[in-house]
Symmetry: C2
Subunit: 234 residues, 2 copies
Amino acid sequence: MSQAAVVLVSGGLDSATTLAIARDRGFDCYALSFAYGQRHQLELEAASQVAQHLGALAHRVMPIDLSMFGGSALTDASLAVPEAALDAPVDEAGAIPVTYVPARNTVFLSLALAWAETLQARHIFIGANAVDYSGYPDCRPEFLQAFEDMANLATKAAVEAQDASERLQIEAPLVAMTKAEIIQTGLQLGVDFALTLSCYQPDLHAQACGRCDSCRIRHQGFVACGVKDPTRYA
Amino acid sequence: MSQAAVVLVSGGLDSATTLAIARDRGFDCYALSFAYGQRHQLELEAASQVAQHLGALAHRVMPIDLSMFGGSALTDASLAVPEAALDAPVDEAGAIPVTYVPARNTVFLSLALAWAETLQARHIFIGANAVDYSGYPDCRPEFLQAFEDMANLATKAAVEAQDASERLQIEAPLVAMTKAEIIQTGLQLGVDFALTLSCYQPDLHAQACGRCDSCRIRHQGFVACGVKDPTRYA
């Protein structure tokens, strides 16, 4: 088996750090992004730059039209993106934010699994984080473990595995980190965060709005670790 | 919660029977097919006819280019489709057939889950069968159970579920049936199998080859239950 890993890369800060961690652990990294009907196609350009910057051996962008099913402010132009208060990325009642995309991480990990199988890769990296975005059910450790258990029953490689070391592993190294810890880790590993784009509603020049949940959490992270925020704001 | 169900419909015999079973159980059926880079786009026309014939409320065809990842005779034009002996749908060593598509059912069920979530549907039907196609790991009951467990940790609906009756269920009513039992069940529920297409390599007029694994298993099923085979052969 090769030491290849599939890494989900969105163009944002978290997945850039995740890719840097996978590279630092010695994996040959295959970056996977999705054009999933989201408003901000600019993030795919950021993903491409991040993949190149961090030495991915390949970068695939798979078109997948989740807007066919509707249901999220990120893919449905009729829903407004909320500009919540800094301390309330999840709404007041602790409910799931409307920016949630139905079954997103399940879909993305499944497609990563398909690529991993053809690459004979045993590792899939995802920048899921359960601290700042606790409203998303598919970012929690128990979900990620259940996906790994399922994947090990789903694939030819798993069926043919000779021992536990050949099990497929879902790696979510950021899952328990704060945003400040993610930024510090990325900086230590040489990530140029100026290449990344986190904003839910960037302008046509890929400049961040500075107001959406994602911008606020990101900026707060730079402030918390005492580093200059390299984000280009509109 | 509605009594909606998402039903994976390929255009073949198994998924047509599955759709008929879901309808018979009283569900409002939403049929989902995939254009996944397979050679036989004609199966999508069959899927459309089957969905209409069996009263699906909607039929979506999602393009998803699994050939981007390679690895199967069904999506990779450089690999030949095997014409195995009648009694050997799985190869002699019991190995997984080369017609296996990487992580196919994981990917298809994940996308069905996305639609189910926006429909507030708690049931996903799949025509998986572990008897005739035992070489596919993602057709086995243990895989389907693991997917269901994962799905119930993945979705907003599952997180907000008030009791066990609101759990998401993966329904695979054919999983333990022989091909003859599937055909008999379908006929009892009014399925017109002449609309279905099972062949891995139909001609341009959607006529079956009669030689590939899928054709042989299908024909053997009609013979076994003493019913005239309505398949149009080239």
